[in-house]
Symmetry: C2
C-alpha cells in the first residue's frame, strides 16, 4: 500500500461507513482527502491569483492538458520550468489528459484505436493525441499527478458504443502506464463503463488490475439523470482499490460532493464555483443565490455569515450586488473566491465529520439547510442514507 | 496656514525649485505629496481589491459622485455608513463633484446659472445637479475630500463661452462653500479659465480668494495640444496659494506627472493605469509596452525588473502574455496592479528626489530612459527644465 513514486503509504486517518479521511503525498505537498480541486483550465483559476488560492486553503488545483497544448504549448511551459513555475503555484497540480476535451469539445474529431485526430479550436489545424503523446505532454507540463488518456462515451451512446469506448480506454490506460516515466509525477488511471452499473464495475476492476497509484471515475455528470448517477458511481467506487485515492472527475455541486464522499470518493474537480461566480450565483448555507436579485440591494451583512473568505470578511452583500449591477470585475472575483472557498470549506468540514464519526449526520444536516426541497439535494440525501447503511 | 477642519498645518518637508514635498491630514490618514490617486469611479478601482490597493501603497483613492449618484445612489451608501464602509476602504477618499461628467458625458444636458439639467445614462430620466445638491450628495457619500461643483469649458469653446463657464464655476464654488457643513470633510475649490493663460491665472486668483483648504485645476487634458497645456498649467499653479495642496485633475501619464510636479503640483488622479492595463498596455522604466506583442511570448523575467508589485515579484512576462492571449481576467488585474503601482512608486521616487534636492535630475534621467524620442516626453523635459530654472 505504498505510492509507487514516493514510497510513502497513503495514510487513513478515519473511516465512517464507506466515507474515508486520508492523506497522500505529492512532490509538492500532502493532500488531505476528501479534497476539492479548483480548475485552472488555462493555468489560471479564473479571476483568482495564486495568493488568493492559498488564502482559501487550496492544496491542489487542476489544469487542462488540451488547452495548454493548444496555447501556449507544453514546450514553452517546459522551457520556463514547468507548470508550477509558469503559473507561480508551488502547491500540487493535477493535469487531466485531454481525453474528455478532444472527444467531446473539438470539431471534426475522429477516434480510432490508436488515438484521436481533431481540429484545433483556435486555428483549425489538424492535430492528433495518442496515449503516448498525451503522457509526453503531461510529463513536459510537470504536474504532480497526470491522468491516463481515455475515451468517455457520450450520454446517449448505445451499449456497444459505450463498450467499445470503455475497452479502448482500458487499452489506452495500459499504454499510458508503459509510456510514463517521470519519477516525481504520479499517473492515475480512469475507469469508464458508460451508463450500466455492471459495465461500470467491470471497467473499474479492469483499471484496478493495472495497479495505478490512484484511480479516477470518468464519463459521469455528462448529462445523465441524477437517479442513474448514484448507482453508477457506487458501482465504480465499489470496484476500485480501497487503499488508493479515488477521484470523481467533473463533480462540484455541494450535494453531489457529500453523496460521493459518503460512497467512498476522495477527490473532486469542477469549474462550477468559478463559473457560477462569474454568472452572479453564490453558495450559502441556505442554498444557492443570485447576487443580482433585488433583495440583495441593501444587505449590510456578508454573503454567508459562516464563511471566512475575503469577500465575506471584508465586504457587504450590498457592495457585491452593486459591483455586479455596474459590471465591475471585482464582483466576478469576489464571488469566484467565495464559491471556491465554500467547497474547500465543505471538504474541511467533511474531513472533521469523518474523523468524529458523524459524517452522515453532518451531510444530512447540511443538505437539510442547503436544499430542503431541492430535487438534487433530496436525491443526494437518499444516496447518503443508502451509503451510510452498514 | 492651518487646515480648516483639522487644525493641523500642512507640513512642508522640502522644496526643490517649485517642486514641493509635503503632507497633510485627512480624517482617515496623512497624505504624503506629491501623490497619485487611483480612480475608483463606481467605488471600485477596476479589477483591484482594497487589499491590493493597500499592498501597492495607495493612500488615497478617488470616486465619482456622478456615477455613485446614479447607481447605487448616495442615500444607500449613506445608510450603509458612507463610502469608506461601503467599499471597505479605510484610508482616504476624494470624491469629484460630477461637474465634468454632467457637462461633458451626459446627453441632453442644459447648463444654466443655477445648475445642470441632464438625462441619466441608465434610464434616461431627467435629473438636476446644483452646487448645493452636489455638496449634499458628497456629504452623504462622506469622502475625506469633496470637490466644488464646476463647469469646465470644452476644448474648442469660444473665449466668451470659456469666460462664462469660468465665472459660473466661481459663483458655484462660492455657493458650495456656503452649503458645505460636514466637519470631517474638506472641500476643495476648482479653478478653470479655458485655454488662455491670463484667464487661467485670473480664475486661480479668484478661487484662491475663496480660501478653500485645497485647490484643484480643472478643465485641462481635455483634448488641447500639449504645447498649450504646460503654459496654461503654469499660469494656474502660479496663482494658487503656496501653502495649500494643489491638485491637477485627470492627469496620469508619467511624463505629465513629473512636469506638473516640477511646476508645483501636489495631487493627481487618472483612470490611465487601470484603463491601459485592461487594454494590455503596461509601464516600464523603458517606456510603455503592449503585453500582446509577440516578443513577450517567451520572457521569463518580470514586466519591469525594478518594480516591486505582485505581478512583477510573482509572475513572468510570459505568463501575463499568455493570460492576455487567452482572455483571462487575472491578466487584466495583474497589469492594472502593476501600472497603478508604477505611478505610486513614481510619486515615492519623486518625493525622495525632492527631499534630496535633485528632483530635476531625477525627472530628466527618468524621462531619458522612459521616452527618449517620444514627443510627449520631450515636451515634458522642456517643461521641467523651464520650471526648475531659478
Amino acid at each position: 500500500m505504498c505510492w509507487r513514486f514516493y514510497n510513502r503509504p497513503v495514510r487513513f486517518h478515519a473511516r465512517n461507513g464507506r466515507a474515508r479521511r486520508a492523506e497522500f503525498a505529492t512532490a509538492h505537498g500532502v493532500i488531505q482527502t476528501p479534497v476539492f480541486m479548483p480548475v485552472g483550465t488555462r493555468a489560471t483559476v479564473k479571476t483568482l491569483s495564486p495568493a488568493d488560492l492559498r488564502a482559501i486553503g487550496a492544496e491542489i488545483i487542476l489544469a487542462n492538458t488540451y488547452h495548454l497544448f493548444i496555447r501556449p504549448g507544453h514546450g514553452l511551459i517546459e522551457r520556463l520550468g514547468g507548470l508550477h513555475s509558469f503559473m507561480a503555484w508551488d502547491r500540487s497540480i493535477l493535469t487531466d489528459s485531454g481525453g474528455f476535451q478532444v472527444v467531446s469539445l473539438t470539431d471534426l474529431r475522429k477516434v480510432d484505436d490508436e488515438g484521436v485526430t481533431f481540429r484545433s479550436h483556435i486555428d483549425g489545424s489538424q492535430l492528433r493525441f495518442t496515449p503516448e503523446s498525451v503522457v509526453t505532454t503531461q510529463e513536459a507540463l510537470g504536474a504532480d499527478i497526470a491522468m491516463a488518456f481515455d475515451h468517455p462515451p457520450a450520454w446517449g451512446s448505445s451499449d456497444s458504443e459505450a463498450a467499445q469506448a470503455t475497452l479502448r480506454s482500458l487499452s489506452w490506460a495500459e499504454r499510458c502506464r508503459k509510456a510514463h516515466g517521470r519519477a516525481n509525477q504520479m499517473l492515475f488511471g480512469i475507469c469508464q463503463g458508460g451508463f450500466a452499473a455492471e459495465a461500470r464495475a467491470e471497467s473499474a476492476r479492469a483499471i484496478a488490475g493495472l495497479d495505478f497509484v490512484g484511480n479516477a471515475i470518468g464519463g459521469l455528470s455528462v448529462g445523465e439523470p441524477k437517479e442513474l448517477l448514484w448507482p453508477l458511481l457506487a458501482a465504480s467506487l465499489g470496484s476500485l482499490p480501497e487503499d488508493r485515492p479515488r477521484y470523481v472527475m467533473g463533480m462540484g455541486a455541494p450535494e453531489d460532493l457529500l453523496a460521493a464522499i459518503a460512497m467512498g470518493a476522495d477527490m473532486f474537480d469542477c469549474v462550477l464555483p468559478t463559473r457560477l461566480g462569474r454568472n452572479g450565483a453564490f453558495f450559502t448555507r441556505g442554498g444557492r443565490q443570485n447576487i443580482g436579485n433585488a433583495r440583495f440591494r441593501e444587505v449590510p451583512g456578508p454573503l454567508d455569515a459562516e464563511c471566512d473568505c475575503e469577500a465575506c470578511r471584508v465586504h457587504s452583500t450590498t457592495y457585491i450586488h452593486h459591483l455586479f449591477r455596474v459590471d465591475e470585475i471585482l464582483g466576478l472575483r469576489l464571488l469566484s473566491l467565495h464559491n471556491t472557498r465554500f467547497l474547500i470549506r465543505l471538504m474541511e468540514q467533511s474531513r472533521t465529520a469523518i474523523e468524529s464519526g458523524d459524517f452522515g449526520e453532518f451531510a444530512l444536516e447540511f443538505l437539510g439547510r442547503y436544499g430542503p426541497t431541492n430535487a438534487s439535494c433530496l436525491q443526494a440525501r437518499v444516496a447518503i442514507v443508502d451509503a451510510m447503511r452498514p
